[in-house]
């Protein structure tokens, strides 16, 4: 039926001053109609901003700890005109019989908070020295109210873990690792997938056969055991950064096959399109045909495939780190944080330790919705 409508709306009136949209503008227009995808897009931007400016958004440094506040529950933000933005201090109370630690809100003592608070100095990206944090304890106000000798004020937005490390800050720093694994991963995936898949599709014949069969063999390895095996081979004394890159490479090594197949399929199909044949008959060289004629035909598909493979990488890193075979402390990533949740007491008594899961789920969903929206926006153009 759409042919009938499209046939009907085929010719445009002949005016000189008419603007005609290009391919990309059409895609963007269509994308904007998917509200969920657009919302996911903005959400992911926020997440990546958090990751990039982690030092700024976090309240404390990732390895800072205060053992007095081990397993402290999340503190609620309060606002009233007397104290401004604040939260209530927590006092630890040890039950005399069970020796269980609980925290009681001390409604008398307000811990003043402020935006852009001055806190511990840090270096943004290990380069720029700064002092301000997005949200933090207003040390000056606290000192003014309680004197400089008083016990320090703490603010745990999402609670603390067993060492008294701020969960929120660690999540923000963890975002940097977990989210960048995806980005670095897709760069590697793209390079491997596009080139191998491209060669396979363009040359065809025996080369194509060989490459495709190899991909199939690679794909038939069980994924998780292969990752575990590769991760286990990594020497234990490698620096965290090395481990990080090794993990990303391990994850991409299996992920590129999907993109390679997509690229190969598209090139095979587009190679026989009349306009590609026309380019050949005009005398165009292989490079021109591939980059000018074939590639633009599926750039959108590549973008979609890459977007959809990021969740796989994030989950892969999380799983590996959770099992202790990926990133290890002292690196902070969401997967590493989940190691603390390995036992039931922790989960039952201190559920805020599971918060990284929420972030993982939401990020993965975000990428999925974004990929869906991109795919729907990019695909329909293929038809007349």
């Amino acid at each position: 039926m759409s042919e009938l409508t499209q046939e009907a709306a085929a010719t445009l009136p002949e005016t000189e001053a008419m603007e005609v949209l290009s391919q990309w503008q059409l895609i963007r227009r269509r994308f904007v109609r998917h509200r969920l995808a657009v919302a996911s897009f903005y959400f992911l931007i926020v997440m990546y901003l958090l990751a990039v400016f982690a030092e700024f958004f976090a309240v404390y440094r990732p390895h800072w700890r205060d053992l007095d506040y081990a397993f402290c529950p999340p503190q609620r933000l309060q606002f009233d005109f007397a104290h401004g933005l604040h939260t209530y201090a927590l006092r630890r109370h040890i039950d005399p019989i069970t020796f269980r630690k609980t925290y009681i809100e001390d409604r008398e003592t307000a811990v003043p908070l402020r935006l852009f608070a001055r806190g511990e100095p840090y270096k943004l990206w290990a380069v720029l020295p700064c002092e301000h944090h997005f949200l933090g304890v207003d040390l000056a106000a606290w000192a003014a109210a309680n004197g400089t000798e008083a016990a320090p004020a703490r603010f745990f937005l999402l609670g603390a873990d067993r060492y008294g490390q701020d969960v929120f800050s660690r999540i923000v720093y963890g975002a940097r690792i977990s989210l960048s694994v995806g980005v670095v991963g897709i760069v590697i995936t793209f390079i491997l997938g596009a080139s191998i898949g491209g060669v396979s599709g363009y040359l065809g014949g025996g080369v194509d056969n060989l490459i495709q069969r190899s991909i199939e063999i690679l794909n038939s390895f069980p994924r998780l055991p292969l990752w575990l095996a590769l991760a286990a081979v990594m020497p234990g004394d490698w620096s965290p950064l090395r481990v990080y890159f090794a993990i990303t490479i391990v994850l991409s090594l299996l992920g590129w096959t999907r993109l390679a197949r997509v690229v190969r399929g598209k090139i095979l199909a587009l190679r026989e399109e009349d306009y590609a044949v026309a380019a050949r008959l005009l005398g165009a060289g292989h490079g021109r045909i591939i980059f000018r004629h074939l590639l633009p035909g599926f750039t959108s598909h590549i973008i979609v495939a890459l977007t959809m493979s990021v969740p796989g990488m994030i989950l892969g890193e999380t799983s590996l780190s959770f099992l202790g075979l990926g990133l290890r402390p002292p690196i902070v990533s969401w997967g590493v944080m989940l190691q603390d949740c390995m036992n039931m007491t922790a989960v039952a008594n201190y559920p805020w330790l599971l918060l990284p899961v929420v972030f993982i789920v939401v990020t993965v969903l975000g990428f999925n919705f974004l990929g869906d929206g991109l795919r729907d926006a990019a695909d329909p153009y293929g038809s007349r």
């Binding site: 039926m1 009938l4 409508t5 046939e7 009907a8 709306a9 085929a10 010719t11 445009l12 009136p13």
Partner: protein, 338 residues
């Protein structure tokens, strides 16, 4: 009077309007079309792409889906037995509508390969058509299918029953589609460009087949095509459409020998076979305007060599009126033109 009309016409369409809602506005694909198919005869609707002929055919069977809708007018079917059915008034899910589709009115499409299910045998599909509309046993349905396959000229129908569509050639598949369409002896057969996708020699066979079957079974045919040669050889009555409206309607001989509407004339003049070799082909100036930019007055006037300012470009589109017995033209200058 109405009773006479019911005997003479099998399908009456009155001021049919089918619109599509798109982001560019309302596309008036069919904008006030009125015609009738005489019982036992072949009426061809001819026009170029975008004129609305296929949309008209789909509207008859209520096959228009969002974003399209039937916005007005009536479609009435007069079966030989039973009361008149007002197709436009039927509910989407009415039993009567299902009885009409495939039972009283059948349709055959342009692409035989996509019209047949690739995962069912030919026999399965024809029998399905029979069993949906007639109360017979499977054995009887199979026999009817074999008989019909023979009638459409397929050799060895018993073996063909168990073959799949991909095992048949294009011409054979179209014959199977015709068999499926006619096996329930419908009142009306709608053929939407049935031969456009076929080779010329096969096209000739299929057209001949349609004519023979139409004569034998007394089925009325509504033939949609863009090929004036097919019209001349197959049709008995013709309606010419342009931009969603009928511009001329007559019996085939008068229309093709003495066309009255400028568009019909221009169409016939642009046919290569009727022109001298190597003479310049008469072409119609300009191109078909988009449905979102239909010219005021007569929609054809910007391309018409007889257009007169003041009469052709103002007011609404000209009404289809009878300028001679059996000849209807939608042109304000019909009587004056040479």
């Amino acid at each position: 009077m109405a009773r006479n009309a019911e005997r003479e016409f099998v399908l009456e369409i009155d001021d049919l309007k089918t619109y599509f809602d798109s982001e560019e506005g309302v596309l008036r694909a069919v904008d006030g079309v009125t015609f009738a198919v005489k019982r036992g005869r072949i009426l061809a609707i001819v026009g170029e792409s975008g004129c609305g002929k296929s949309v008209t055919a789909y509207s008859v069977l209520r096959l228009i889906q969002k974003p399209g809708r039937i916005a007005g007018g009536s479609i009435r079917l007069h079966p030989r037995q039973g009361p008149t059915i007002d197709i436009t008034a039927l509910d989407d899910k009415a039993e009567a509508l299902y009885a009409v589709r495939g039972g009283l009115i059948s349709m055959i499409f342009q692409e035989p390969m996509t019209a047949l299910s690739p995962v069912h045998t030919v026999g399965n599909q024809i029998c399905e058509a029979i069993l949906l509309h007639q109360d017979v046993s499977e054995r009887e349905a199979e026999e009817a299918a074999i008989a019909m396959l023979g009638k459409v000229g397929i050799p060895g129908p018993e073996t063909r029953l168990n073959q799949y569509p991909f095992e048949l050639s294009g011409g054979m598949r179209q014959r199977v589609v015709i068999a499926m369409a006619l096996v329930c002896h419908p009142e009306l057969l709608i053929a939407d460009e049935p031969t456009t996708a076929l080779d010329v020699t096969i096209q000739a066979q299929i057209l001949g087949l349609i004519k023979d079957l139409q004569r034998d079974l007394g089925t009325s045919v509504l033939l949609i095509t863009h090929d004036l040669g097919v019209v001349a050889q197959t049709a008995e009555d013709v309606a010419v459409m342009y931009l969603g409206r009928i511009v001329e309607q007559a019996a085939v001989r008068p229309l093709m020998k003495q066309p009255r509407h400028p568009y019909t004339r221009a169409l016939l003049e642009s046919l290569p076979s009727l022109s001298e070799r190597h003479a310049r082909l008469e072409s119609i100036e300009g191109s078909v305007p988009a449905l979102t930019a239909i010219p005021p007055g007569c929609p054809f006037h910007p391309r018409c060599r007889f257009a007169v300012a003041g009469r052709c470009d103002a007011g609404g589109p000209p009404a289809l009126r009878e300028v001679a017995p059996g000849r209807q033209v939608a042109c304000v200058r019909a009587e004056e033109l040479p």
